[in-house]
Symmetry: C2
Subunit: 299 residues, 2 copies
């Protein structure tokens, strides 16, 4: 089944101690859409400027991503620039140019409104809500977020949480939102805000799902070399939704394995700058890492 | 089968923001011995002063721990005092009084020398080596350590590593020893120093085993409330050795489940000060948490 993904579509300039990588294809929706595309059809909703490279549109299309919902406006594409320190744990934002994103209002083509699976990737919660307003009874809605929205749009985010099935956030965001340092307490507090499923991401320590069927501890795939973790969280949630939308049976049954698939695609994401590595991956390589993770966790 | 455990036998005074707990039973060998005792016979090797409370000797005995190798010397028992901050992540040593430990030289009773399983719990590597010198062809030898020995007794530790089957250390110690921030690189470097099995502890993120049969990612049991993490690492390795010594079949086959048992006993350890919670646990409660961890990791 189809996954509709709304989020940022951006150009990322990423500096590490080893190299400089200007104007890579980035943004939460780009990473999530490519990750989801390994499993089935994806519809992308976002906005880019008239400076957006044609090669990036072709990249989306090569992955079978439907671009009918991608607006191309006159002006500049959202541009983010950041720098990583040697250990890859600390990221510093150098520059954020909103460009055409500043006036973005998602407008869904008719065919998009019936998508059964909806991923509200990281973007302002008011825009996530606008997308939900246009949907006709989606089967499963997941929202991602970032610390920025907890700081400047908390009320909008809280309103949104009442309308989603699952909420994905990282450990420090869960702490910020609930004031709980213990993630069991934090996930319980987040359930009370609305979502039936709470997924807390812990970077290279994996992710935790809290659901009516109990807890699930998803490992991260252990990597020998991390090149650029930008977009790993978006790849995780995109891969998860792609798997989920195309797996047979109830969501409760498939969500754990979906998280493992998301975790594996996130691992590929970290092995190259931007989408360099993810876009070169074959489905068989993804399945292989999932099998490896199974072998690494069996006891 | 029997596990011989050498390590520190101490009195711990532990302060947290919530309370003060003077002169608890502590030390690496105490935690490890109680943890191992849930599975079968344990022989403890260590030293205490004549101030050591009789009730603590009775506690050891209640757990079926053989005290023939525990020396009781005139003088003061090793006393450690530490303070935890609110988040339980940062620990500060307030006081270390070596007492009778300063002149300790482990001397094994005849019956101890043929123990098939040997746990060299955290203690000076020269003392760990003295125990090994007295053993007659043990089947499986595990060594634990701490950052102090990396700082002041590195050569002795490196000499010991050539003589052990498994080495257990935490992430920051692995980093300090190998200069590798990536734990896959670190474990490979440690294998080159001797041990066939390398186990890297990651606190509440679990532990990683690197072995000839590949990697194993052991989760930590998620706790709602952490009271006092002192001794959790010792409980982990003690529980692991206790399970291993009493499981049928090859070590390679049992080591993963042994780590899970160790992880569960470490979780109980964290729920009380000193050994308060661990000593009240029943085997059925341990088995129950192991089953819960199985359910939390299955996908």
């Amino acid at each position: 089944m189809c996954v509709l993904i709304v989020g940022s579509t951006a150009l990322d300039s990423i500096r590490t101690p080893a190299s400089e990588n200007p104007r890579l294809l980035g943004g939460s929706a780009s990473h999530a859409a490519v990750a989801a595309s390994f499993f089935g059809p994806v519809k992308l909703v976002g906005v880019v400027g008239d400076d957006f490279p044609k090669s990036y549109l072709q990249l989306y299309r090569r992955h079978g991503i439907d671009l009918e919902g991608l607006q191309i406006r006159s002006g500049k594409t959202f541009h983010w620039s950041g720098e990583y320190e040697l250990n890859m744990d600390n990221r510093r934002t150098l520059l954020t140019e909103l460009g055409v994103f500043e006036a973005f209002s998602p407008h869904l083509p008719a065919a998009h409104k019936t998508s059964p699976f909806v991923l509200l990737a990281n973007i302002a919660p008011s825009l996530q809500a606008q997308v939900l307003d246009q949907m006709q009874k989606p089967r499963f809605v997941v929202a991602d977020t970032m610390d920025l929205w907890l700081n400047i749009a908390l009320q909008e985010l809280l309103a949104l949480l009442k309308r989603v099935d699952a909420f994905v956030l990282n450990e420090s965001e869960a702490h910020q939102l609930t004031k709980c340092t213990n993630m069991l307490h934090a996930s319980r507090a987040i359930h009370r805000l609305g979502p039936k499923y709470v997924i807390i991401k812990k970077g290279h320590h994996g992710a935790m799902l809290s659901s009516p069927k109990g807890l699930f501890l998803a490992p991260a795939y252990p990597l020998k070399n991390v090149c650029d973790p930008t977009g790993a969280g978006d790849s995780f949630v995109g891969g998860m939704m792609g798997y989920l939308a195309n797996a047979k049976g109830p969501i409760d049954k498939n969500l754990r394995r979906a998280m493992i698939y998301g975790s594996v695609i996130a691992s590929f994401c970290c092995e190259g700058f931007g989408l360099h590595r993810t876009t070169k991956v074959k489905r068989a390589q993804i399945d292989h890492r999932v099998q490896e993770l199974e072998a690494m966790t069996r006891f």
